[in-house]
């Protein structure tokens, strides 16, 4: 690719993304659908701006999937992985095996050759990790049961791709066995079986050991240079090196980086690695989705529309039913199961990899492969729509069905003076406290299981994104007196402050804040009632420390309340002299700020003296007044 055409391609792709993604998000369609539409638009069927290069681009963009798995790995602590072992092996295993078996069976019955049928079954089984994780994260559903189950199944599928790649060559017509391999750049495929196995074990071992003993010291060294771009370069180097290593032994690079991510998840550089790789991942994933959109062969669909639609719907229906069944087996509640099974019923990006492999190996002919490619791309394009339909039509209906269970219609009519947005660890403590004193609260929460449970306990709960105007309105924000913003996400909280100030000016806002910087932002947004998560419990710890050291309990707790008052005043002062544009990003700035705080502490008037209880002046006075007694 010469430089000019590379830049031109880049311009087309990025331009399409910049134009369409914001548009799609504004329409509530999510960014993934935006990318896909952008791809369709610039693809051969519409504007034809990408020429025949889209497949090259897709190869580059697949690297986005690799990076995404690295990030997923980083976010995953081994303990979580262990906790999820049942759904990963159980749900994932069931889903892949049954789906592959059923689709193979259907293909076989439809008169397709046995080997081809098996290949199609294997290709169709995995779902799209990139698409589903991105969508779930955007909708804030990752922590729900549906999110966790989806994640577990996707993880299993990603791992299952490796044995699939091992099985597929065996399906190839025997005379073309060699031609299947000549295009593959993997040195390993020409080696005997035991060498391949050893190589795989060796590669995985290298990643785990190097992650432990080599990468961490390296990162420490690089971090010590305090040069951010070198750190970024190191991160990229790490991912690329693993990708090369894995491809050379014929393993999925996605699995390799995922593994590396897990190994580094416990390291102190986790967040830095994550934030360094994030923009690359985002852009490449976007381009990947665009190239999927561009790869959809619409002329094929125009030739045999019924066939394409039939295969598409049949495939998704089979997948959805199998998924719903596994969800049922693993006790997902109905609405969670809906999110999970409709969310995962597309065919994933690994199908593109597997398809190109099967075509090279002559397992499938060009026509079948093209047809499947179109079906896969379409099923991915339909996924965001399915999420949307599910959210707009199915889930609310389910919600409505639930409602008659709550018989006390009058308590529903009753207007509660307090709304709690977010009933996690923070929100539920405040909520329980208020409820224990008979104060009516309305709760907004995004976790549907929690919502379900709370409803059963007789709470008035609304399911959904608390920053949405309509949800706030439905929850009675115009009649309530106070809203407690206790959701986890600081950005969401600021959004909510904006929305509430705009639409419900009479609603008093009390807001949780993570730390000082959060509090500064909230002060700038005009908040008066700000509650830093850390400050009260930290001071209680301080009080208990003083007590254990021998201070009297009352003196210690009185000192803490005096300090709290002083610290709140100090916070307001520092906020007023703070440069609004300057956000604290680096450790050095944090220390500068800390220095300012501690200097103020030193200048503060005696924080620990109550003169009324101090006898010094009394004693002096007594001595001066009656020297004869001395």
């Amino acid at each position: 690719m010469d430089q000019h055409s590379f830049l031109f391609q880049a311009m087309i792709y990025l331009g399409a993304a910049v134009l369409l993604v914001p548009l799609a998000r504004k329409m509530g369609l999510g960014s993934v659908l935006g990318y896909l539409i952008a791809g369709i638009l610039i693809g051969p069927s519409a504007l034809n701006l990408v020429g025949d290069r889209s497949e090259d681009v897709m190869h580059v963009a697949e690297f986005g999937v690799v990076m995404m798995l690295f990030v997923i790995g980083l976010e995953l602590e081994p303990s979580l992985l262990w906790k999820l072992r049942k759904p990963i092996v159980g749900m994932g295993g069931l889903q892949v095996l049954i789906t592959a078996a059923i689709i193979t069976g259907i293909c076989f019955v439809a008169g397709i050759d046995r080997n081809q049928a098996i290949a199609i079954g294997l290709i169709a089984a995995p779902s799209s990790t990139a698409l589903v994780i991105q969508t779930l994260q955007e909708k804030g559903l990752m922590k729900t049961d549906a999110g966790q189950s989806s994640f577990a199944v996707l993880l299993f599928q990603d791992i299952a791709v490796i044995p699939m790649l091992a099985v597929l060559p065996m399906l190839a017509p025997s005379q073309s066995d060699n031609s299947a391999n000549h295009g593959s750049d993997a040195w390993i495929s020409s080696q005997p079986g035991w060498v391949q196995t050893l190589a795989v074990i060796f590669a995985v071992g290298i990643i785990v050991l190097a992650g432990r003993f080599l990468v961490r010291p390296l990162l420490r060294m690089v971090a010590a240079t305090r040069s951010r771009e070198v750190f970024t370069a190191t991160t990229l180097l790490l991912v690329i090196a693993i990708t090369l290593l894995m491809t050379s032994v014929g393993l999925s690079p996605a699995l390799g980086t995922f593994l590396a991510g897990v190994v580094l998840a416990n390291s102190e550089y986790r967040h830095e690695l994550e934030s360094d790789i994030e923009p690359f991942k985002g852009i490449l994933l976007g381009i990947f989705f665009i190239s999927v959109g561009a790869a959809i062969n619409f002329s094929l669909m125009a030739d045999s529309p019924l066939l394409v639609v039939g295969i598409l719907l049949g495939l998704m229906a089979v997948k959805a039913v199998v998924l719903a069944m596994t969800g049922r087996v693993f006790n997902l509640s109905t609405d969670q199961n809906l999110i999970y099974s409709l969310g995962l019923c597309q065919v994933g990006e690994f199908a593109f990899v597997l398809l190109s492999f099967t075509r090279q190996a002559n397992i499938l002919n060009q026509h079948t492969a093209d047809l499947l490619l179109a079906v896969v791309a379409l099923s991915m394009a339909l996924t965001p729509l399915l999420f949307l339909l599910n959210e707009k039509f199915l889930l609310p209906r389910f919600d409505v069905k639930e409602k008659p269970v709550e018989k006390e219609a009058d308590t529903i009519e009753e207007k509660n003076p307090v709304i709690i947005a977010g009933f996690g660890h923070y929100g539920n403590t405040v909520g329980r406290f208020l409820r224990a004193h008979g104060i009516g609260t309305t709760i907004l929460d995004i976790d549907s299981d929690r919502v379900d449970y709370l409803r059963k306990m007789g709470f008035r709960v609304y399911y959904g994104d608390a920053s949405r105007y309509d949800l706030l309105h439905a929850a009675g924000a115009s009649e309530a007196r106070i809203i407690l913003l206790t959701i986890d996400d600081p950005v969401k909280r600021l959004e909510m402050i904006e929305t509430i100030k705009k639409h419900f000016p009479n609603l008093q806002i009390m807001v949780r804040s993570q730390n000082r910087y959060d509090a500064y932002d909230q002060m700038n947004a005009g908040m008066m009632h700000i509650y830093r998560e850390t400050v009260d419990s930290a001071l209680r710890m301080g009080v208990d420390t003083m007590k254990i050291l021998g201070f009297r309990a009352y003196s210690a707790s009185r000192a803490a309340s005096t300090f709290l008052q002083y610290d709140e005043r100090n916070l307001k002062y520092l906020s007023s002299i703070r440069d609004e544009k300057q956000y604290i990003n680096t450790a050095r700035e944090f220390i500068e700020e800390l220095d300012k705080i501690i200097q103020n502490d030193l200048r503060a008037p005696e924080l620990n003296r109550d003169k009324g209880w101090d006898e010094e002046s009394l004693i002096n006075d007594a001595r001066n007044m009656s020297p004869s007694n001395g």
Binding site: R558, Q565, D610, K611, G612, L618, D621, N624
Partner: protein, 202 residues
Amino acid sequence: MARILIQFAHPALEKSRVHKQLLRHIPQHPDIYVNDLYERYPDFNIDITREQQLLLKYDIIVLQHPFYWYSSPAIIKQWQDLVLEHGWAYGSQGNALKGKVLLNAISAGGSFEVYRPEGRNRHTIPEFLYPFEQTARLCHMEYWPPFAIHGTHRLQEADISLYALQYEQLLLAMANDRVSPSELATCHYLNDLVPIPSTIQS
């Protein structure tokens, strides 16, 4: 014109019948200020600077509270301990409160009769209030007889509102300097300065 500061202390005002009515009858007057101690310092963390500034601004300090265990609720004691500092309120240099007036406005469950030498409590209300009187003396303040409401458990709402009216009249009289030293010398309670029908004095 005398400026009046009412230091109000009731740990559970929502349960009180008498003090709710009394508070409602405190005249809306630029020179009368109610400082609700339990409301302002729920953790007893009294702001000493603020309290001293307040004391400096006013001439008559009324401690309004229920009569718990022959004395005041705990926060009044905390307030005394912390705010009336040596070298400020008393001691060789402590003249900040010189010439000001201190008095208690209290409600008591027992009747007037039980607070007599021959009664169950064996002492009068002014005798029980000696610590306040002496506090005032030590701070170079004048101590006035208390305003007192007796037998609060048996009072009807209508009786309470009569007392509340009496309190209101008393505060206005004090604010307008209509309380003379000769009257003060003769009265047992400040209530005597504003007579109400004898039927409810039992």
